[in-house]
Symmetry: C2
């Protein structure tokens, strides 16, 4: 899938692109149906919510689940990223975020690349985030929120929040969020029919199968899910191979160390049983839990 010049310009300006219903209901259902069995596992790669047993985020499913291994090689997902980064890509991070009915907690305002730079020593922001909805996303089940254009600020100051939720995050200061939102259009307004007109926060919503592509410096957050409907989404972070991380401070199931370029499967790969390698099928290898504060220590 190639991007149009308009899409490229839009991405440059706003920092994200939205592709409603890019995957069919059949394709997204097939992925979603595979999630409960993964979430049930008492494995280190399932991080649960602070106040419940619901899974907040599952890591690295593309290494032990065939449907997600195929998604990680899907041309409809990889194509646009390749078109924007102009390099071969490897999978830096792979998450299935739960945001489960009633239990899904907030993700505070943050940038992803800040973490990748600080923790993983990824040289540049030549990496891209993809969100694929496995459930319908509405205003009621905790949709992703963006501050359009905030990626233009590059890496901004952040503090390590280890208390608000169960997953530590480098979060952006409230005063800076206020400035970025103001610059992006502020509070928005209301049209004659009483509908809200977008201001400095946007929130792409749509049916299961929709995809968002967003810049790794784009500031984003999401609210809690008080609705009775799950909002499961796959978050894939693809990095240019030449821009691979230089430090293994975080375990391998969070920040991958295999920089082999992704080879795409055919477009129907979610529906047909193309063979895929599942190296962690029998469990997470001990080496994947090893970490080092020094550059490339484990790899050396």
């Amino acid at each position: 899938m190639k991007l149009t010049p308009e899409q490229v310009a839009q991405f440059d300006r706003d920092g994200y692109l939205f592709f409603p219903s890019l995957f069919t209901p059949e394709e997204s259902k097939l992925l979603n149906d595979a999630v409960p069995a993964l979430y049930e596992r008492r494995e280190v790669y399932n991080v649960r919510e602070k106040n419940s047993d619901a899974v907040r985020t599952n890591f690295a499913a593309h290494l032990y689940s065939a449907p997600f291994a195929r998604l990680a090689r899907h041309p409809r997902m990889v194509g646009p990223v390749q078109s924007l980064l102009g390099d071969k890509l490897y999978m830096h991070q792979f998450k299935i975020n739960g945001k489960m009915a009633f239990a899904g907690d907030v993700w505070q305002w943050h940038q992803d690349y800040g973490t990748w730079l600080n923790d993983d020593q990824m040289p540049d922001a030549r990496a891209m985030n993809i969100a694929i909805f496995l459930d319908d996303v509405t205003e009621f089940n905790g949709p992703l929120m963006f501050i359009p254009g905030s990626h233009k600020k590059g890496v901004v100051d952040a503090k390590h929040d280890v208390t608000t939720t169960s997953y530590p995050l480098w979060t952006v200061d409230n005063e800076l969020i206020r400035q970025l939102v103001e610059r992006a259009g502020g509070h928005g307004g209301f049209d004659a029919a009483g509908r809200h007109v977008d201001g400095g926060i946007v929130s792409p919503k749509g049916p299961a199968g929709s995809m968002i592509l967003f810049h790794s410096c784009l500031v984003h957050a999401s609210g809690s899910n008080l609705s009775p409907y799950d909002r499961v989404a796959v978050y894939l972070s693809l990095c240019a191979v030449s821009n691979h991380i230089r430090r293994f401070k975080r375990p391998e199931y969070i920040a991958h160390r295999d920089f082999t370029p992704i080879e795409c499967l055919p477009d129907d790969c979610l529906l047909k049983p193309y063979p895929v390698d599942l190296p962690w099928r029998d469990g997470v290898p001990a080496s994947a839990l090893q970490t080092s504060p020094d550059a490339m220590k484990i790899a050396a």
Copy 2:
């Protein structure tokens, strides 16, 4: 202000009515400008958020703040309630809920009348909730959410949640919420333009000055406010005088014990300095903090 037969039918069916921009920007600004000085006070009537100093809810401002004392007697607010309850009214509860920028926490799914019955021994659900927006309300600053028609269930089972937030609440069980939402239209859908079509959860949003009137058995909740914009709203609960509470288990600043019927001021009362009585101007009287587990013990 009288309601039309269509509005009465709509209220009966859905359990709420929405009046966008019922108060002018000038009127709502005048009220909103009075809030910070009230929130600053270190008084028992200011309940702060669990994890911050931001005010979650302020009680009884109509007894010590002239602008809010006038709002409590406003014909545009009182008229529709009187039209639906067909009785003289007194003020059962008066709150200014903060839902402040970045800090505003969730209110879990609940009914108000359940609390008024269990704690205050209010005989019937002949009391009405009013919400008046002092800030613009959008999908991003924690709008109120309703399950339309849920008031028809009467009082439903609830459990006393004293842990989730700083304010104890009788909250409704998740499974029952799921059933009520399903019955009311479920998850909703998406139209051809990709807009979400309302299902079993609705969320009236609009400019400051808008008003919602809702049944005291209507199940409602609101999410957190991660945006940089406050969402201050006044919540007034008006009760039919003949339906006054029978027990003073909660302090008087939370559940009022003065059953004198509200006498409305003229329609321009927010803009002109009509005299109003402010009995708590010099502080909350000691008697207002007294409580009793028995019926009408203090009043007797």
